[in-house]
Homo-oligomer: 199 residues x 2
């Protein structure tokens, strides 16, 4: 069961996501967030020393969620291409979670481009994802699924780029395509390109 | 030669890009832009009826530039895969132009998510790019370069997703990888996946 303090903590974070999405990071004030969450300023500062720390906490939470969704499905009875294909389906779930949170997602990027501390907090986990992908691809080469001349690092970045691009497009223009199908097809194309041909 | 009016027009747009990048769209005032451009408010409103119209003009200009860079290289003596590979190299040029303009790029997205008029102005040219890509891929199927079961629309979206993701990552974290190589490799992988195998 959650303690009263945990409920307040989560309530502030939820209110902040709503406020940041609506008004933007700069315009959203601690007073607005407190009002939305129904807490006093005293309670707010008991949980978060500043608006920026709150912002970073939201981001960490979000990235941790993605990490858990993407990399929790490792199963030893599947080949690497099968696992990567599964991750493509997971992306569809991330979409649904992210829908309506475009402004928030964008805020992270803007703040990262303006603030060194936020930048590090965005970029570190991001590079970490790439490394996890790259090791998967190396495993795929070892198990004989992928061509031996595959560059694991560049392939990992290319896969991540596609995922991020699809995420972004799916949020900005959800009606333009069946983004779930685009994801599956895109991942399949890349995997086909990497596949070892049996000569 | 440019007329005095054209020089003023461009000066205001340039100043606005600097201001929007530095302070964000909401915080940047017409007064600040005028000061940066060295023009009077009268001159400003002679050229742009509002800050929003100026913003839209900058965006149109930017998208037109990308369109010209990407689709101007059609040459009849090249196969479609060769042409798509060339477009990958063009992306590297777009990078260099875009570097330092992340906040501006993000502003477009945020404003689009909040404002119907901006949204249409972002999404329309964007869908147009996808259609141009899709017709190229259809030509590639017809000329026998790509497998006949290739879904041109989904492939076009997947290629665009990768391009956008690379652009975004290259701007946020330029040091993480050689983005030019990632682009080439990523495009090559997708093309390999689409290639007709000679059975």
């Amino acid at each position: 069961m959650q303690t009263r303090s945990e409920i307040t903590h989560e309530g502030i974070m939820k209110a902040a996501v709503a406020e940041f999405s609506r008004s933007g990071y700069d315009a959203a004030s601690v007073a607005d967030i407190c009002k939305e969450a129904g807490v006093s300023k005293g309670a707010f500062y008991h949980h978060f020393p500043s608006k920026q720390k709150l912002f970073l906490a939201i981001m960490q939470d979000w990235l941790k969620g993605i990490d858990k969704q993407l990399f929790s499905r490792r199963s030893p009875d599947k080949t690497i291409p099968e696992m990567i294909q599964d991750m493509g389906s997971t992306l569809a779930v991330i979409f649904q979670v992210a829908s309506g949170q475009l402004p928030m997602f964008m805020e992270f990027m803007i703040q990262a481009s303006r603030d060194k501390e936020v930048w590090s907090a965005v970029v570190a986990p991001y590079r970490h994802y790439q490394q996890r992908f790259a090791s998967m691809i190396r495993e795929g080469i070892e198990e004989g699924s992928f061509r031996e001349d595959t560059d694991a690092d560049e392939t990992a970045w290319a896969l991540m780029s596609m995922a991020i691009g699809i995420l972004l497009q799916g949020i900005v223009d959800p009606q333009a395509a069946n983004w779930e199908d685009v994801t599956k097809k895109g991942v399949q194309m890349i995997l086909d390109g990497l596949k070892r041909r049996n000569e």
